[in-house]
Symmetry: C2
Subunit: 331 residues, 2 copies
Amino acid sequence: MISISIQMGKKEVAVGIDIGGTNTAFGFVDRQGNILAGDTILTNLYDEIEVFIAALYEKILVTGQKAGTELLIKGYGIGAPMGNINKGTIEYAAGLPWKGILPVSDLFHRHTGLPVIVTNDANAAAVGEMMYGGARGMKDFVVITLGTGLGSGFVIDGKLVYGHDGFAGEIGHTAIRPGSSDRECGCGKKGCLETYVSATGLKRTLLKIMADSIQPSVLRKYSFEELDAKIIHDAARQGDPLAVKAFEHTGRMLGFKLADVVAHTNPEAVFLFGGLALAQDLIFEPARKHMEENLLSIYRGKVKLLPSELSTQNAAVLGASSLIWAELEHK
Amino acid sequence: MISISIQMGKKEVAVGIDIGGTNTAFGFVDRQGNILAGDTILTNLYDEIEVFIAALYEKILVTGQKAGTELLIKGYGIGAPMGNINKGTIEYAAGLPWKGILPVSDLFHRHTGLPVIVTNDANAAAVGEMMYGGARGMKDFVVITLGTGLGSGFVIDGKLVYGHDGFAGEIGHTAIRPGSSDRECGCGKKGCLETYVSATGLKRTLLKIMADSIQPSVLRKYSFEELDAKIIHDAARQGDPLAVKAFEHTGRMLGFKLADVVAHTNPEAVFLFGGLALAQDLIFEPARKHMEENLLSIYRGKVKLLPSELSTQNAAVLGASSLIWAELEHK
């Protein structure tokens, strides 16, 4: 096969973009997962999505020109809450400044003819794990992102599962015990997994335990707003009994759901990503125990429960960029 | 393209085999889903799996020779409880006369060099629905088989999901409310979906309702062993309040789980197959209601809940045969 590049000398990169409620980060990422340059803009500075996309695109261009190497951009991968990969939209994302259905891909295409792929953060993280992380060489796995909420991305037979409507992988909004929890979720339902298994869920569980218990705890001096996963983690490491119990309960709830996940698609591994996953054994041990206890015997002892190998800091940008590499590989 | 068949005049067929605890049925099925010939042998007549397979193969040959048309067999598709598609085995199937791991594919290959594919009944039903039934043209759907137990098969992007260990699609053994049900399951766990949502589950729920209620019911004269889904169905159609309640509760439990299924893989449709599905609105209405109530808003009103279009009588054989056609298409 004869093929002559007319762009010799340029470094091929995918732009990975992570749209968050406060900041939007982006980076120029090569096929090996190296971030060659990058920057952020403030998301909530822009009342109009059109203006935001134009400003973001401008900033990407300027940053690219300042990079040491000449870059050849192959496409734009975008991770965002409620990103819909089939339609290239963000739909009804509670945490963003703009309402309704946002045609992000179309708006990007006002500026570029290159591929633009939009999906949710967890799907992007799953593809990132496959391209650059611990899932290299795996064909069937699940990534669960544990941040303020809980996201999930499924890879089956080497491909991200989109679903018929582009919204596969939202196990954060499945119930652990349908109809039997009063814990309100931001989605409007009650008892969703993410009301238990997330940084916020951990705080809520801690408050519940604190209310029921009379044991002293260093955490009793913190308000709900002051508390975060790191404070509870530190307290648990010091042996604070309420903090330890809060992690145990969080891991137990996660383990219940992981048993379900395994029975659905029988993955080789489940990766945990994000702040809560950094608590290591505090979350992995109860999660593994209750997963195994709730598995059908044919699955027991076979499914790996692993920490993500993507660095927390850059994972969203890496994951978003990997959407482009994965797409180009499948063509 | 020039292609000369050296087998002209012969009709291409796949052999579909349904191994059950009592009977094993088989049929010669063409690409359009027509069964050209078929028969059954008694499963539990054979103490040794080797002897059973040899007898089954012999019976298939003899039946094929007696068929009106000359047949060209393209392969053998086998549906069986706990069938493992990756390994070609049946593993620890409680309902069959043979114990442990049965190398069904290898045993078949003592007699034939043609492709042999083994999977569980529900996976076979899912592929059958895609090849011959209501899922023609769909790429993302789920089939749930409701018989003595509950099986499930997932199709994603036009392909059956096998899973890393060959055991994907066992939602019958996920819990509805983990840790909060005492209902024992044949698998050794408690509170599994199939202890509620299956013909047996319906009977168990009816008994529970009968125990709690003082309402008269025509069903109070039946023993547990005498009861079956059809008797309860008939009573419900006559307005028997306990039978109606038993169906409502069964549908409600199914609806809870369907909401989970949707959030995992976002299918276009869920098909219900088997005895319980024949109860139509009695099962579909509560299932649909509770599914919708428990769905994240992005999914609401989008997922079709449909009866299987495969005839109950031949579905297992059709489904098993379709494994071969699907395999040949992907080559």
